[in-house]
């Protein structure tokens, strides 16, 4: 067995005009223009980050997603964030539990989230490790697709000024560390 390094000092890189920051923390407590919620097609908030959204944000977000009703795989939609520190939540629907074409769907989901941010002129957006953890997308794949999408958006010239990747623990931080460091 090997000891896992636990150093999770935030890393920041500038890609064109966009600052990309990797940090360990509480995604739903960040003061950003929006954070991304990895959503189901029916937009049900559920547990996990959904628990935090309902607890910290109050009932407003639930009402908004119920009104929207649902989105298709790879799409994203934006709501307010109720009483949370963030101003908005981008609900982005990505692949779950080994479903086919995980990589392609995850890429669509990332691009949709970034497009929503761009269209709404958001300056700072925070992402979790998309699909990793509960939904079983391998961390390495999640990191690769996310970094590719962020790099492409930065090159296109109109991404948010700050993009944060916010991990829950040292384990997922390490999975992103090299990729962000190499930007």
């Amino acid at each position: 067995m090997t000891a896992t390094a636990t150093a999770t000092t935030p890393i920041e890189r500038k890609v064109h005009q966009t600052v990309v920051r990797l940090m360990q923390g509480d995604l739903t407590a960040l003061e950003v223009d929006a954070f991304v919620h990895y959503a189901k097609e029916n937009l049900e908030l559920g547990s996990g980050y959904g628990t935090a959204i309902q607890s910290r944000g109050g009932g407003a977000v639930k009402k908004e997603v119920e009104k929207i009703g649902g989105i298709r795989m790879g799409e994203a939609v934006m709501t307010t964030a109720g009483g949370m520190a963030a101003k908005h939540i981008i609900h982005a629907c990505g692949p779950k539990f080994q479903e086919s074409d995980t990589e392609g769907k995850l890429r669509d989901c990332m691009n949709s989230a970034l497009q929503i941010a761009r269209e709404n002129g958001l300056k700072s957006v925070a992402f979790p490790p998309m699909g990793a953890g509960f939904y079983g997308v391998p961390l390495a794949l999640s990191a690769q697709v996310m970094i590719d999408a962020i790099r492409s958006a930065a090159a296109a010239g109109t991404p948010p000024e700050v993009i944060i990747i916010c991990t829950v623990d040292g384990r997922d931080f390490l999975a992103f560390k090299n990729q962000v460091g190499a930007l």
Partner: protein
């Protein structure tokens, strides 16, 4: 004949090839269908005649898969050895019903198998295969997602956890009329880092207070982490090794971050087993510090004379329920009994007991699977009969999961019993010393936050305060200082004025503006008047912003006696 396999079934079969290890293979190969396991299972005993509950039958649902895809006999003579794969999503649902709904992974059948077949090890693997393709009871999904994303399996947010600890600390101080009783959070270099079950923070916070009282009267140097505090691990229940490794890793990270010397795990069977025995393997992680159940810790305090107890304070008849994970999987059977006999005057053994005890029926994550509740409660008849036969008024256990399982069945079978944890009984038997066990120092127990960008100054001031018995935390800049104040409000802050990112005067302004911190005592400790910092005019700033004077103002270099005198005056005046 070829059958088309559904996408999920195909993915499950592929995963099977990865997850079968030597231990699982031996258990799948060794069964001779002797039937000795049958009468060991509480499901069977409460459902006589229903073969689908028999451990060997349940095991064969998984064994058929193994034969079909891995074992050579199944590949060569499938009809002979009963090999059968899965093809449809409905078959996955049927498998789910067996491995989640008809077994709590209690391992009573494993213990009594003459061939050494460990049913729980491959039942857990089968759960993991289903979870991998998204087939699981809704409650299992809810809990697992909370633990993945919030960091604990009940979705307790950080602010709620910290507020609960503060509330319990205040309750304790009021109950014992003793301001020095603390629940220290994120204290560095403590001898004990104490981790809990989120059920305690959410539903049963008195157990935290009781443990805190025991630590206090034992004179323990202890702390609780502000993050990575959940010692439960749903990875054990849903078969997800990745979750198991991640959750264990967060706890180990917390101990390492705080440079704790020992991790003490609150009373929880699966939490103890996962944290101490399984998670290092799941997470491929070396753990350098010792890990201990709170049962052992409390017993040690009594035997070493660090706390005094009076068993006559617990005079009602009690019996003891062994948690499956503590007793069968970790061998912890005698210590809880030794402890009970020290804190109770009428302990009655239930039968069978120790490693042969029956499951509370809420194990293996069963309490989260509401769809199986009627089945669970029916199977609890065997446990109810066991409890009733003791004539005890209190059933004690050392597992929060068992508390819920037992509470449910006691209500269902209308037994006249209460459920308690060992910590409840030890706390109620405590003999509080009339005079403190050690000489109290004037500032004993006060929490001081030192905000200063110079490491030497932080160490220097911290040493002075620690010598007075204070609990000291440090922050190198104003931003981190503000976060520390919000996370765990100190009793007093010493604040340098020249700080990176945000000046000390700006932080002071922020504190005084906020209703929550407007009355937080602040003593300025700064070299601002030195000739190299002519730009800072703190008192001019106060006048301009119409801010109140700080509670104290000391220029560097600081005289230790003057510092203590100032801080003591502020704190005692406030008290």
């Amino acid at each position: 004949m070829s059958e088309t396999r559904s996408y999920k079934a195909q993915k499950l079969v592929e995963r099977l090839q990865v997850k079968v290890n030597r231990q699982i293979m031996l258990s799948l190969e060794a069964c001779v269908h002797c039937g000795l396991c049958t009468d060991q299972c509480h499901y069977v005993l409460s459902n006589p005649g229903d073969v689908t509950y028999a451990p060997a039958y349940k095991a064969d649902r998984i064994r058929k898969l193994f034969k079909a895809h891995i074992d050579w006999t199944g590949k060569t003579l499938p009809w002979w050895v009963g090999a059968k794969s899965v093809y449809t999503d409905q078959e996955l649902e049927d498998l789910k019903d067996t491995v989640f709904g008809k077994c709590t992974n209690c391992r009573r059948c494993s213990l009594n198998c003459p061939m050494g077949v460990d049913m729980a090890v491959f039942n857990r693997m089968a759960r993991g295969l289903l979870v991998h393709v998204g087939v699981m009871p809704e409650g299992v999904a809810v809990v697992a997602k909370d633990q993945w994303e919030i960091g604990n399996q009940m979705g307790v947010l950080k602010e709620d956890y910290l507020e609960t600890l503060t509330w319990m600390e205040e309750e304790l101080q009021s109950e014992y009329n003793d301001h020095s009783i603390r629940i220290p959070i994120d204290k560095m270099d403590a001898d004990v880092v104490y981790s809990i079950n989120p059920r305690e923070a959410k539903y049963d916070p008195r157990t935290i207070a009781e443990a805190a009282a025991i630590f206090h009267f034992a004179g323990e140097n202890w702390t609780m982490p502000s993050q990575g505090w959940d010692m439960t691990n749903f990875g054990l229940f849903n078969g997800d090794d990745e979750l198991g490794g991640a959750v264990g890793g967060r706890l180990y990270d917390a101990v390492e971050r705080l440079r704790g010397k020992k991790l003490v795990i609150s009373e929880c069977g699966h939490g103890f087993r996962s944290t101490r025995c399984e998670a290092p393997n799941w997470g491929k992680r070396d753990v350098a510090f010792p890990m201990e159940s709170a049962v052992i810790t409390m017993l040690g305090y009594i035997k070493q004379g660090r706390i005094q107890v009076d068993k006559s304070k617990n005079s009602e008849p009690v019996t003891y329920h062994d948690s499956c994970n503590n007793a069968r999987s970790c061998g912890m059977t005698e210590e809880p009994r030794e402890l009970l006999n020290l804190v109770c005057s009428d302990f009655r053994e239930m039968h069978p007991n120790r490693a042969e005890n029956f499951c509370c029926t809420g194990g293996g994550g069963a309490m989260s699977m509401t769809e199986y509740a009627p089945r669970r409660l029916k199977s609890a008849r065997i446990k109810a009969d066991q409890l009733k036969a003791t004539g005890a008024k209190i059933v004690v256990t050392s597992c929060h999961n068992c508390v819920d399982g037992l509470f449910d069945l006691i209500k269902h079978y209308k037994l006249d019993m209460q459920v308690k944890l060992l910590v409840n009984l030890v706390a109620s038997a405590l003999v509080v010393p009339e005079r403190p066990s050690r000489k109290m120092r004037p500032l004993e127990g006060y929490k001081i936050l030192v905000i200063d960008d110079e490491p030497d100054i932080r160490v220097y001031l911290g040493k002075i305060f620690k010598d007075q018995g204070c609990l000291v935390t440090e922050a190198p800049d104003a931003n981190q200082g503000m976060r520390a104040i919000k996370a765990d409000r100190p009793d007093l802050v010493t604040l340098d004025l020249i700080l990176p990112y945000m000046t000390g005067e700006k932080l002071y302004w922020e504190l005084r503006k906020d209703q929550k911190t407007a009355d937080l005592p602040v003593v300025i400790v700064s070299g601002y008047a030195a000739v190299d910092s002519p730009r800072i005019d703190f008192f001019g700033f106060l006048a301009e912003k119409r801010l109140p004077q700080p509670n104290g103002f000391l220029e560097k270099p600081v005289d230790p006696e003057k510092l203590i005198e100032t801080v003591r005056a502020v704190l005692l005046e406030k008290a």
